[in-house]
């Protein structure tokens, strides 16, 4: 428990603080190419402030509420200024947090069901293949998951390049020689989601495949005797049997997809799509690290995951309670 909670507590504490006021002084700076006026931090004056409270200034929720996060003031102003939902929506997507949320939620709610459906279909298909073929089939179906996400995304990134194999095929199919997946926001979103499904479907597949091995053969036999078609067997025997597994997969996938990160980095897609995880990475990756901002986004991510999972968790808890 300590291992889990200590880092979270430290992140929460960090997010409530911002850095000290930095005392700035005008100075002359000289380098190879000449001298000019610039500014620097007055270390002596700032050191005193630092020694007083090493955590920084207590800021309460201000970091959460500022423009780079929940942007309460900006949202309020936009709400009063705009008169249509459409307009309001497009203005909101200009704010970094809502832009990231827009993509993250779309990604989560498109990829999760597709992964579950595709995983299930592959599992049923593999399960009905002859025994000799099953081994190789399972191996190939699992490949996308075995490849490191960054590498897998990079491979796809090169393939969809305007001169790559998929990119050229798309141009041919669309009859537009200037079509470029990397230049268009909708196509980039689709690409990221296709990658997400490609990468995560094996996980759903292997869980379902394991589940299929435990389907009672007697029940299936009985269904067959009753004249149930293959579809009816799946609909009335297999799906109800695998339902608890579906809850498990949905839980894992919602969590994973909400933290979508690697594809955005390896597709260099940040001009088109950002996510909360990417925002944290971006805050920490600049020349000047923005710890408080990253901490606040992290806490918001945790809250987001908790909200997303709450329906599933409540359901599981109820099931458990009933028993």
């Amino acid at each position: 428990m300590l291992f889990i909670f200590f880092p979270i507590i430290s992140v929460v504490v960090q997010s409530f603080h911002v850095e000290h006021e930095q005392v700035i002084r005008s100075v002359e700076t000289c380098d190879l190419f000449g001298c000019k006026q610039s500014t620097t931090i007055d270390q002596e004056a700032t050191a005193a402030l630092r020694a007083e409270s090493p955590l920084g200034q207590f800021a309460g929720l201000t970091t959460y509420l500022d423009r780079n996060h929940l942007a309460v003031d900006e949202v309020g102003a936009t709400w009063n200024r705009t008169d249509s939902w459409r307009d309001f929506g497009s203005q909101m997507l200009n704010l970094p947090f809502y832009k990231a949320m827009g993509f993250t939620l779309t990604y989560t709610f498109v990829v999760t069901p597709l992964v579950i459906i595709l995983g299930f279909v592959i599992a049923v298909a593999v399960n009905s293949a002859t025994r000799v073929l099953r081994g190789p089939l399972i191996f190939f179906s699992l490949l996308p998951m075995m490849i490191t996400p960054l590498v897998g995304a990079l491979i796809l990134f090169w393939m969809v390049d305007a001169r790559g194999i998929i990119g050229t095929t798309l141009q041919y199919l669309a009859g537009d020689p200037n079509l470029s997946v990397k230049a268009s926001t909708p196509l980039m979103w689709i690409m990221l989601m296709v990658y997400g499904v490609w990468h995560s479907a094996p996980f759903a597949f292997i869980v379902y495949y394991a589940g299929l091995q435990t389907v009672s053969q007697d029940t299936l036999e009985a269904a067959r005797v009753d004249g149930a078609s293959r579809w009816l067997q799946i609909r009335h025997v297999i799906i109800p049997h695998l339902l608890p597994l579906t809850t498990f997969i949905a839980l894992m996938q919602l969590m994973d997809n909400f933290r979508v990160f690697e594809p955005i980095v390896s597709f260099a897609a940040n001009a088109h799509a950002t996510s909360l995880s990417w925002a944290i990475f971006n805050d920490l990756g600049g020349e000047t690290r923005q710890l408080s901002s990253a901490a606040a986004t992290s806490v918001l991510t945790i809250i987001g995951v908790a909200i997303l999972l709450s329906p599933v968790l409540v359901r599981t808890w109820r099931d458990f309670d009933r028993k």
């Binding site: 850095e19 700076t29 305007a162 230049a183 001009a271």
Partner: protein, 408 residues
């Protein structure tokens, strides 16, 4: 091939160091820095010193570890090799020491122009320079009959002619990848238009003005002639486009010209015609739309004076004329006596001669750079106006600067 070069360079510089075994230190040295051949040469030069242990941790992720590694007491790293943009991150946290007394005692022979002084105190010693300048295809410009462009307006005209002649659909290149690269291009273009980033003497940003809009409009005009994927092209990718023979003109780093002009990765027709030009100006201005960069070394604050002296001597040895030989000469534009520039370095020298300004060495410039990198792509994609994009940058920067305590 690359590895071979590095290995050879290291071997050569170690022997060179041994030949100049005048470097005797009594203390331990630990260097952290970026990972490319020139930095290896410096680290090897430092390692040639005898009498104490010299370690080097060279990695592309050096900026993620150098601050943390210097905050302890004693610090893990006694020296960080940094550039003018990254020295401020170390100065902001007060982890590097002024070098005045060390220079007075041991460094009288270091040329004065290599000493980086801030507020009258020597904070770093520079050893190499870099700048973005024009790279162009000599043969293509001859074919369409235009002079080598000296302004971005001329680049646009030449691009139109190249396209009209059917030579290349997307003849202009540039490192426009959203993020750091895109922000750097804006910084260049804004300086070229004579813009000032801040209200003088304060951390208050002021880029949403005529120059800012003009800079963005010029960038947009250039992207019309770029591969539509430009927002994913960093300097590697756009360099590859030039080597593939698609890009005929681009603004490129001096340190990467060698790769473009060598016989690897391109056909003879392409690499033999790639030529380095000077920095470009824009909008009738005289200041080039480019920034000068230097790489230099620092000495950590939280270490014993003994180790500081050892570090100073080792790093001085690592950047002394002794490290220059046939192999290392072409690795960078060295700011070291005895360096003779090769044609690949013409651009950087032209940039220095043309009075290019150096990248702003300000405590809060990193925050503005991040904000620029995040918010300009919407304009280039045609989703919002230039004014809106600049307003977004200002708002994002102001918020971040408040979180970091630069603004109240």
């Amino acid at each position: 091939m690359f590895l071979k070069k590095v290995a050879l360079a290291s071997a050569l510089s170690i022997t060179a160091g041994a030949a100049f075994a005048a470097c005797e230190i009594s203390g331990n040295v630990s260097i952290v820095g970026n990972e490319f051949p020139a930095i290896h040469t410096v680290a090897n030069g430092a390692a040639a010193c005898t009498g104490g242990e010299v370690k080097a941790n060279l990695t592309a992720d050096h900026q993620k570890i150098n601050l943390a590694g210097m905050q302890g007491n004693p610090a893990e790293y006694t020296s960080a090799i940094i550039a003018n943009s990254s020295i401020v991150a170390l100065m902001n946290e007060d982890v590097i020491r002024p070098l005045d007394d060390l220079v007075a005692a041991y460094g009288q022979d270091i040329p004065k122009n290599q000493l980086i002084t801030i507020d009258g105190k020597i904070m770093a010693v520079a050893f190499m320079a870099n700048a973005q300048t024009l790279a162009y295809r000599k043969d293509v410009l001859e074919e369409i009959g235009v002079e080598v462009p000296t302004t971005y307006e001329e680049v646009l005209e030449a691009a139109e002619k190249i396209r009209a002649a059917g030579i290349s659909q997307y003849p202009v290149g540039g490192a426009y990848a959203a993020g750091w690269n895109l922000a750097e291009e804006f910084v260049n273009m804004y300086i070229g238009h004579g813009g000032e980033f801040y209200v003088p003497g304060s951390a208050e940003v002021a880029i949403n003005n005529e120059q800012g809009v003009a800079a963005l409009n010029m960038m947009k005009a250039l992207t019309e002639y770029m591969n539509p994927d430009f927002l994913t092209h960093d300097s590697n990718a756009t360099g590859a486009e030039m080597e593939a023979g698609n890009v005929m003109m681009m603004n490129m780093w001096g340190s990467r010209m060698g790769n473009l002009m060598d016989d690897e990765g391109a056909e003879e027709q392409v690499y033999s015609n790639i030529t380095v030009g000077g920095p470009l100006t824009v909008g009738g201005g005289t200041t080039p739309a480019s920034t000068l960069w230097w790489d230099g070394w620092t000495v950590a604050k939280n270490i014993s004076d003994e180790d500081a002296v050892a570090t100073f001597l080792a790093m001085k040895n690592g950047t002394s004329p002794a490290i220059l030989n046939e192999e290392t000469m072409s690795q960078a534009v060295w700011m070291i006596e005895g360096y003779t520039p090769a044609p690949v370095n013409d651009g950087v020298f032209a940039a220095i001669a043309a009075g290019t300004t150096s990248y702003p060495m300000l405590p809060y410039q990193g925050l503005l750079h991040t904000a620029l990198g995040d918010n300009l792509s919407d304009f280039l994609l045609g989703k919002e106006s230039a004014e809106q994009a600049l307003a977004d940058v200002e708002a994002a920067y102001t918020t971040a600067a408040k979180e970091k305590g630069f603004l109240q």
